[in-house]
């Protein structure tokens, strides 16, 4: 990263890569990562990819968007973008967010109070382009000039002038994926302006109007989920086979032999996990099954399209995709006749189905939804399973707060009540709760594994979280102490897993990560063998 400031003019006009990320300017990490050589390297895109793909922002490509070849193509893309921007201000096309968008675009005083709250801006060494207001200001200038009546005249007078070129739009496209939409910035804004929201609105222009979206979120994500049932690509039959396999594994590990309730009409609860759990962390759905079975909860899983995968990636980039998936979740719940939907350990699925979908559901689709955190607390606090916290005494635990669960939904205490009931050595990170730092994998970052995007995540977007984890365990940082980062969210777990692996934290510091229910089952007195396997996965 050059020390030269990046101006809006450069952003719009400068040819080639706009900024270079320079790891030597990152704020240092706590020991043992206070040496630059221990940090993961930033990979440059291959020369072929640099020529082929749009990466002129910072040398990173989240979109893998091929460079348009002709001026005509570029003009067409710019025109489509401006059309999309126009539709954001249409009361029918964008009823979903028109009022919040209008307010955030209209009233920002540019006081920069948000900048200090943004982990990406800070951890990048205060790179101008990552300032929360940078992308918002560009969007605002484009709106004022091209959409507002008399915009071209006033843009010149006010000093807001900007030229919509493909160079600039392509950079803006990538810049929309340098913010995790954790909304820490909005939390600190005295006016209530929400730059996270504006990032999402920007993503909507690309997806909803231009048909351009990050592949893991759209083509391999929500489109896949709506076609085969899950963003993992797992269709119904493999899902059912997986569950059968996990039933056997539970018997092997715990001696408990029982069938997992599947498609049971009239159950009290429809439990929906993030399907990634079945594949990457099967111990999580296993632990849920053990707890609910032991507590005698009348619940069911579903093998219907989308209903065995609680993810809803639309929440990050596309209102229509969001509504399609949410309505499918509700359709299945309605068909089963359950009393409520409970969402497993997945932060964005929580917010999607409980908070956001609350303005999408009507009539019979409006089935009550709640967090598994509250159900677990109810089970634990009311003694519906027998627990002995000392079974976890060899582990020091800390809790990562998924943004979607805390800051964006207000579910803060239940998971702490559960964790305190099963861990005698629990300590809080600072800051925590609604003031937490994002894991760095929010808004789709955790599942964007292509090219050099993960390097951005490990080095910048997850860096604040790594700092917190190292800080909270600093007095016992050596490998002789077992330390556990409890992250009750699949995406957060994915980001934390990748970040710990990139820095070699498990090997060097013996810090493992995982969900909440695994610790609960590990503390269950009726289960003889330890459930938690202390090995890297």
């Amino acid at each position: 990263m050059s020390k030269k400031e990046t101006s809006f003019k450069d952003f719009c006009k400068q040819e080639g890569q706009l900024v270079e990320i320079d790891p030597s300017r990152f704020p240092p990490l706590p020991p043992p990562y206070d040496k630059l050589e221990l940090e993961p390297k930033f990979r440059k895109l291959s020369e072929e990819n640099q020529k082929k793909l749009e990466c002129d922002l910072d040398g990173i490509s989240a979109f893998k968007f091929p460079r348009p070849q002709t001026d005509e193509e570029k003009r067409e893309l710019v025109e489509k973008f401006l059309n999309g921007l126009r539709k954001l201000y249409d009361r029918e096309d964008n009823w979903t967010f028109l009022q919040p968008l209008f307010l955030s675009m209209e009233y920002c005083a540019k006081c920069q109070t948000c900048a200090a709250a943004c982990p990406i801006y800070r951890e990048s060494g205060n790179m101008d382009i990552y300032r929360p207001t940078f992308r918002s200001d560009i969007l605002r200038r484009l709106y004022k000039k091209y959409i507002k009546p008399g915009g071209k005249f006033f843009a010149r007078i006010s000093g807001n002038d900007i030229e919509a070129s493909w160079t600039m739009i392509a950079r803006l496209m990538e810049l929309a994926y340098r913010c995790t939409i954790c909304r820490r910035c909005a939390q600190t804004c005295p006016i209530g302006v929400d730059n996270g929201l504006l990032t999402r609105e920007l993503r909507k222009i690309f997806s909803q109007e231009m048909g351009i979206a990050v592949e893991p979120l759209h083509a391999k994500g929500s489109v896949n989920q709506l076609k085969v049932g899950s963003s993992t690509g797992m269709s119904r039959t493999p899902y059912l086979d997986n569950v059968e396999f996990l039933e056997d594994e539970v018997e092997e590990r715990t001696g408990m032999k029982f069938r997992w309730p599947m498609d049971k009409a009239g159950a009290d609860v429809l439990l929906i996990h993030n399907a990634g759990e079945y594949l990457a962390w099967p111990e999580n759905p296993e632990a849920f099954a053990i707890i609910l079975e032991a507590a005698g909860i009348n619940y069911t899983l579903s093998s219907e399209l989308c209903a065995y995968d609680g993810v809803n990636y639309g929440v990050w980039y596309d209102d229509v995709q969001f509504a399609k998936v949410a309505l499918q979740h509700a359709t299945v719940a309605k068909k089963l006749g359950v009393k409520k939907i409970v969402i497993g350990e997945c932060g964005h699925a929580h917010k999607a189905l409980t908070v956001i979908a609350d303005r999408v559901f009507a009539g019979d689709f409006n089935i009550p939804r709640e967090s598994s955190m509250t159900l677990l607390r109810d089970i634990v606090v009311n003694g519906r399973i027998k627990l002995d916290a000392s079974r976890n005494d060899d582990i020091t635990t800390t809790l990562h707060d998924p943004c979607n669960l805390v800051r964006l939904m207000g579910v803060v205490k239940p998971q702490r009540d559960v964790l305190r009931a099963v861990s005698n050595h629990f300590r809080e990170m600072e800051p925590h709760g609604v003031y937490n730092y994002c894991c760095g994998g929010g808004s789709g970052f955790a599942i964007t594994q292509d090219l050099n995007f993960p390097d951005f995540r490990h080095n910048i977007s997850s860096r604040a979280k790594l700092r917190q984890i190292l800080d909270v365990f600093q007095d016992i940082i050596g490998p002789e102490h077992k330390k556990y980062v409890c992250a009750p969210c699949s995406n957060c777990k994915g980001a934390i897993r990748d970040m710990l692996a990139a820095y070699g934290v498990f090997e060097r510091c013996n810090i493992l990560y995982g969900g909440l229910v695994e610790l609960v089952v590990n503390a269950m007195v009726d289960i003889e063998k330890p459930f938690l396997e202390w090995e890297w996965h």
């Binding site: 209209e106 109070t113 229509v320 908070v355 009507a362 609604v434």
Partner: protein, 309 residues
């Protein structure tokens, strides 16, 4: 009627109409998706740590616990002390607080000037030596609030202007951001000049306001006061079009977005609004969206074509 008087009438009417029109426009926008941001101060018993009713098992079966007092306390802290800037941007707060507090003083000052003008029109003398307690109170409050407001506003404004010339603020600022501050400073400084030279108890300004209220010709006024009033007139015409009017938008950003956590209950008002919104026409152009029909169609019709089990 003088040109200045006419301009005053027009400016006030223009300001009120434009601000009201903008507020009505915002208020009439369709229901939006929930976009809560915690902590929400009216969450009774949970606001201290940012919790919500979602923490309750079967929350929809339990009465909503709302604390309006907590919300009012939070609003007071935010409005009067600008606590979010205090907590997150102290260097700016040092100037932002006196600047905004000065503004609040000036709102009070305006009320006092109008009240004084009404009393004066009714034959009550507004002065330190008046016999009535109300007249004396109006006199002193006018002087204190006016002097404090203009001085604090000017000092804060100068500080904000210099802050904007360095660091992150400079990078984010454009001509109009400086122009806005300079404009406000010009009003404050001209008012200070008028007050300190020709109108120490704001009696001349009150006289002008009295002439506006009673629709009488105004007497001759000193140049300093004329400059001050012309600047205020210009500000009233300009203000509603800038982000300086954020105090009006702030009601919506807090109460209708950040703190808006009303659940959508079956058969309730929100559900009706959602049903109406789902009937809106959708015209987004991406291939995965079936445009031309309603939102409800676009979000449900996919099942027939796209399913590929």
């Amino acid at each position: 009627m003088s040109g200045l008087q006419l301009a005053c009438y027009l400016a006030v009417v223009f300001f009120v109409v434009v601000v009201a029109a903008k507020m009505i426009r915002i208020a009439r926008m369709p229901i939006h998706i929930r976009w809560d941001l915690y902590p929400i101060p009216h969450e009774k018993g949970r606001n201290s740590y940012g919790g919500s009713y979602f923490e309750e098992i079967d929350w929809w079966t339990k009465p909503t616990q709302v604390s309006k007092i907590s919300e009012l306390k939070e609003m007071a802290k935010e409005i009067v002390f600008i606590q979010s800037v205090f907590h997150h941007n102290k260097p700016l707060w040092v100037f932002s607080f006196p600047f905004h507090f000065g503004m609040y003083c000036l709102v009070g000052f305006t009320v006092m000037v109008i009240l004084g003008a009404i009393l004066s029109a009714a034959g009550v003398e507004i002065a330190a030596g008046s016999t009535g307690a109300l007249a004396v109170a109006v006199h002193y409050l006018t002087v204190i609030l006016g002097a404090a407001g203009f001085i604090l506003g000017a000092l804060g404004g100068i500080g904000l202007l210099f802050s904007r010339m360095s660091g992150d603020l400079r990078k984010a600022s454009v001509r109009s951001d400086y122009a806005n501050l300079v404009f406000l400073l010009a009003v404050f400084v001209s008012a200070i000049v008028t007050w300190s030279t020709v109108d120490p108890d704001f009696a001349l300004l009150r006289g002008l306001v009295q002439s506006l209220i009673t629709i009488q010709p105004a007497g001759p006024i000193p140049t300093a006061l004329a400059v001050q009033v012309w600047l205020m007139v210009a500000l009233l015409f300009y203000f509603p079009f800038t982000h300086m009017s954020h105090m009006f938008g702030k009601y919506f950003t807090y109460h209708k977005i950040r703190w808006e956590d009303h659940p959508n209950i079956r058969g309730g008002k929100i559900e009706k609004q959602v049903e109406e919104a789902l009937g809106y026409k959708i015209t987004w152009g991406a291939p995965h969206i079936k445009s031309g029909g309603s939102w409800a169609e676009a979000c449900t019709d996919w099942t027939e074509d796209d399913k590929n089990e």
